[in-house]
């Protein structure tokens, strides 16, 4: 009965039987939150922190997060690094190629509001929310791996609150 101990909020024991009663919504959300495969999309120094988070010291895999090189296989796009105006259409295209439901995590100051390139820059997009909808913002320049993991945990919490009837709309 290990799974029941792990799912106290989602299940209840039925006396005398081995049947678990739960909500479909909760199970689906649980499964989805615990296997967020993210797209490899590092465009600047934030990617170094993303690599560090994925490596053995911080071990992103224990959150169920594995990198995918193809947007078709990814659930989450971690926009790690400066998005220039030339890169913006490519980011939009990658986002469009991902299958629903899809999530976006804006990592670092550049993707939030242009970061250090806010002033006097002709080439940097001032925030990727001009291009694609963002679920979680992780500030920092670049954010430490702890911040990124915290952001991902918040995203998992957000996913667990999804409702089945507006699944597509998040």
């Amino acid at each position: 009965m290990g799974i029941i101990k792990k799912l106290p909020y989602y299940s209840e024991k039925v006396p005398g039987g081995s049947i678990v009663a739960t909500q479909l919504e909760a199970v689906l959300n649980f499964a989805q939150a615990k296997s967020l495969w993210y797209l490899l999309f590092g465009t600047a120094c934030c990617a170094i922190e993303l690599m560090c988070t994925g490596a053995s010291r911080y071990d992103f895999d224990r959150l169920g997060m594995i990198f995918r090189a193809s947007p078709r296989q990814a659930d989450l796009i971690i926009a790690a690094g400066t998005i220039t105006k030339k890169m913006a259409p490519r980011l939009k295209r990658l986002y469009d190629q991902m299958a629903e439901p899809r999530y976006v995590l804006a990592m670092g100051g550049c993707t939030i509001k242009g970061g250090p390139f806010y002033y006097d820059s002709y080439s940097v997009e001032k925030g990727i929310d001009h291009i694609i909808p963002v679920d979680i913002y992780v500030p920092g320049c670049p954010p430490r791996p702890e911040s990124l993991m915290e952001g991902c945990l918040h995203l998992q919490e957000k996913i667990k609150k999804q409702k089945l009837n507006n699944w597509q709309e998040k």
Partner: protein, 156 residues
């Protein structure tokens, strides 16, 4: 050949075409007029004692008074480095391409053209290089450039 010997050599052999500028930089800096550009470049490359066969860098500059195009060249066999620049006013923003001397100039000249609006004569491949393909907001590295979403650093 040391740096001082190079300076002496150039002052002796190219004194009428290259003017030495005392910039205090590590590399020697010379000024070349626009008319002499191709001739001087070709001579520097083909000179048996110099053999400047490598174009390290080429870029524009806007000094608020005039435009400059700065060439950094090096000699791989003779182990020499040299910079020279061409200065011209705003209303004559046009310069000859040096591709026939150093083919590496192609991309640098495209960049200079799109960022500063300096026309490159006889280039043959003037297409947008670093800017987005649908760019229509002018030449962003000019000092007086402005755009609707361009946020200038406030005076502190």
């Amino acid at each position: 050949m040391t740096k001082d010997e190079l300076k002496d050599y150039i002052d002796t052999h190219y004194q009428d075409k290259m003017k030495f500028l005392d910039t205090g930089r590590f590399d020697l800096m010379y000024e070349v007029t626009k008319e002499n550009l191709l001739e001087v470049s070709k001579a520097l490359r083909d000179d048996e004692n110099l053999k400047f066969d490598f174009l390290c860098n080429l870029g524009g500059a806007d000094t608020r008074e005039h435009f400059e195009v700065i060439y950094s060249i090096a000699s791989v066999t003779k182990r020499l480095r040299l910079d020279f620049k061409v200065v011209f006013p705003y209303d004559q923003a046009e310069i000859e391409s040096v591709q026939e001397i150093w083919p590496a100039a192609n991309w640098y000249e495209r960049e200079t053209w799109e960022l500063f609006g300096i026309q490159i004569k006889n280039h043959g491949n003037l297409k947008l290089f670093l800017l987005p393909d649908d760019w229509d907001q002018g030449y962003p590295m000019r000092k007086d450039w402005d755009a609707p979403d361009f946020i200038r650093m406030p005076e502190l």
